[in-house]
Symmetry: C2
Subunit: 535 residues, 2 copies
Amino acid sequence: MVLFKNLDTCQAFEVLKKMPAIELRESLKKERISDWWIPHAAGFYYCYAFAPVDDAIIDELEALAREQQLIEKYRMLTEGAIINTSEKRMVLHHLARGQLGKPVILNGQDLEVFYREEKHRFYDFAKKIREGKILSSADKAFTEIVQIGIGGSDLGPRAASLAISRWAAAKGRARLRPWFISNVDPDDADYVLANIDLSKSLFVLVSKSGTTQETLANETLVRDRLQRAGLNPDKHIVAVTSTSSPLAHNPHYLDSFYIDDFIGGRYSTSSAVGGVIISTAYGPETFEEFLEGANEADRLAFEPSFRKNPMLMDALIGIYERNILGWPATAVLPYTESLSRFPAHLQQLDMESNGKSVNREGHPISYSTGPLVFGEPGTNGQHSFYQFLHQGTDTIPLQFIGFLRNQLSQDMISEGSSSRQKLLANLIAQIHAFAVGKKDENLNKAFPGNRPSTLLLAQELGPRQLGALYSHFENKVMFQGFVWNLNSFDQEGVQLGKVLAKKALNAISKGESTDDELLDAFIVSALSAVKNHGD
Amino acid sequence: MVLFKNLDTCQAFEVLKKMPAIELRESLKKERISDWWIPHAAGFYYCYAFAPVDDAIIDELEALAREQQLIEKYRMLTEGAIINTSEKRMVLHHLARGQLGKPVILNGQDLEVFYREEKHRFYDFAKKIREGKILSSADKAFTEIVQIGIGGSDLGPRAASLAISRWAAAKGRARLRPWFISNVDPDDADYVLANIDLSKSLFVLVSKSGTTQETLANETLVRDRLQRAGLNPDKHIVAVTSTSSPLAHNPHYLDSFYIDDFIGGRYSTSSAVGGVIISTAYGPETFEEFLEGANEADRLAFEPSFRKNPMLMDALIGIYERNILGWPATAVLPYTESLSRFPAHLQQLDMESNGKSVNREGHPISYSTGPLVFGEPGTNGQHSFYQFLHQGTDTIPLQFIGFLRNQLSQDMISEGSSSRQKLLANLIAQIHAFAVGKKDENLNKAFPGNRPSTLLLAQELGPRQLGALYSHFENKVMFQGFVWNLNSFDQEGVQLGKVLAKKALNAISKGESTDDELLDAFIVSALSAVKNHGD
């Protein structure tokens, strides 16, 4: 019997609150640093030696994981339970990466088969595009592929595409150049369109509902530019959408690939949302490896032994930092330029999933939920906000990601070491410096230490490792949502802005009044203040 | 007599702590929304109607600003006082934008004249490059300009360059294409180099000390690639550095432009650090307008009347949010794609300046200082982390930036409105939604409201407005540093990592042991864990 209950009704939580916090600096010993590594999927290791926990706390976090039945709930989720309670939907992004348990059947259809068939449909499409068997309306081979989407249709696929572009180039798999248009700001689209040859450009329009305002506005803009260039837009755009959307089965698209309501936007990189652009740009085999890496991590996430399950451990360490130590934020710090947009993806994944104040039944809760997530790649961040992390008045737990090798084969030796060695040395030095600190009589040069971190480390970043990373954080966020007793799979918090934006848009574009006098006053004063100033 | 003292010794701070917080939702009235706008430099308006303050709190914040003598300290700074106490340096980035008070004379030299002369030297250089009067070693006109730098030599100039690239293109001023290489990860440089024709590429090497590890490693890489392409590196690289650095007066550079120790990295976009690439790519007149906009805001920052000085007001609202309301973070949300990297610049500017725990005399302080700063452009963020901002368990004050027009002249009408109108409608709707919220019996669809924001709004974003924005935040951070009694102009928090990275690098590249057994254990376990896993 699986029981959903609030964190503050858990026995283990009460025990944790009474346990003394550790002094990280004092707890660090050689054995701990050598031993607290968990083998992960795709060759990753997860190091928690620098996390603010000791064996006693870990044991109690394990008890909390058991008490909240995290593995059982994960099992329920993968086998088709209605985990998205508010929208009464199943949650099936894992299934896009492979069957994990019992088949999920809906109206007689095995959904794993549906996802697999769609995948093979876009693999075939990608092959034809890559081999020049499908040509543009100007009879040219496509060399550019442009995704039009926003939120989950943009951030996850964009971060993934960027993460493996150099790897794919080094492996000779990069065929089309990927681009992304997301913002309703027309300057976004125009920048991309100014840099590509439209007669060789394929567009992937991604909107599950087929009604996303920004995406449709950008489609209008792109169709207009294609037409003006004497091209037939219908032969340059494919749609990724749900079968019930206005974009589905529509002759105005070159092809259409389908997703369903059981894979949320921020979890959709594993579906056609990420799959069409990645398999077309870098080859179906590249996307398949991404899925395999994710599936390997998904399978590991079932591991019941706490110290062998890096996703469970990472999730519970985050709970400890948020709800016992009271820290409001987490920094994600990948030491590779290729993951430069991965923190932006995690910002959506984590903050949109668990940034909530009611539990899965819609009742208010009285404890903190998902943290603020931010980050930039190292070493760049070291020259920016690390001052705050080292010597600021707040403690921010840090999530490092590192690799032993770079993606392109060329590296340079300067002053006796390669750039990759410099990057790794910086990563290791920072983790050590944050934890250990440094005494100094001049307090301006002293470092308090005790600033905790965890590390995901692998040999290199390829599609398999990238898939494991996506899965790691998806499963971490899922486990944390279970601990907090949230529905991590809806996003009601974005609705009010949409409704009000429609009203404001009518007021601005048609001069209509909204039904809200404060909103009217704001619109009038905003427009008149700035206009009065003159040019 | 100017007195430097800690915030918690201020009378006004004690008064503020005892004043009741306002209920923002209840305080919003038509008059407040219409009237609480302050005219700013370059056509900006600053709206604080949605900030969590009322007249009584504002009066007391003004008293705090007077008590901490913020305008007087700003005056001291611009006239050459040793405001950077730990490094015993003046702080003169304002002077790069024009004389504000008494001349600053050092060893008989008027530093304003030094900055101005260097500026005219790089303006002349930029003109010659743009007109093809200086050619590459392959006798070709330069079409690409690549900045090599990290931290302040990267983030500020990169955000600024991105911010005006479309504007400059629309105005016919974009001549060379700007690129940036920062990360020591060689994948960063290789990505840029794969996209440009080296025989037409000019590099700007930026390092004040001339010893920045990442920047020198990237120079080695670039020189190697130029040489392999049969080009003469000495004719493709200019240096921006201090007169005492190893890069100065060095015949291995095409030219050199000088900065001094009185303009810190994160404040250096106004100097040659930002000036060489911006004036070469977009024309000296564009950079001059940037400086004029910044100077206009710098002059406004002296305005003693609190309600007429948007930088002072913004700074003190931030203090109130941080030290009275206890909020740890601030989101920066520009509603234009052109400012997509501006939050990354502000992250450095704010967190490196004020992320500190000792006062300007090196004594520990017992109140919170600089907040965590993060952000992404709207409307993209709406589809990502706004869920957390609307319905999460924490309150994050929001700093919106918006414009009435886009930068490129083309826009599209779809469904009866332009993209720019959609963007503005979203901006206005979000500010309203955050403040007012929405009641709903279904708590999952309810919005608490009371989530405060401020807004900087202008007609359009050109170089003049961009300069005003840079100055706004520099002056805000400066005023806040004075309130907290910090030295906002050093960054000792980055030193420990540098020292330890050198040790770790020797251990990794030469197999040497560091003098720290914990660090040794970490290096050994990191390398062996991942290597043992095999490929």
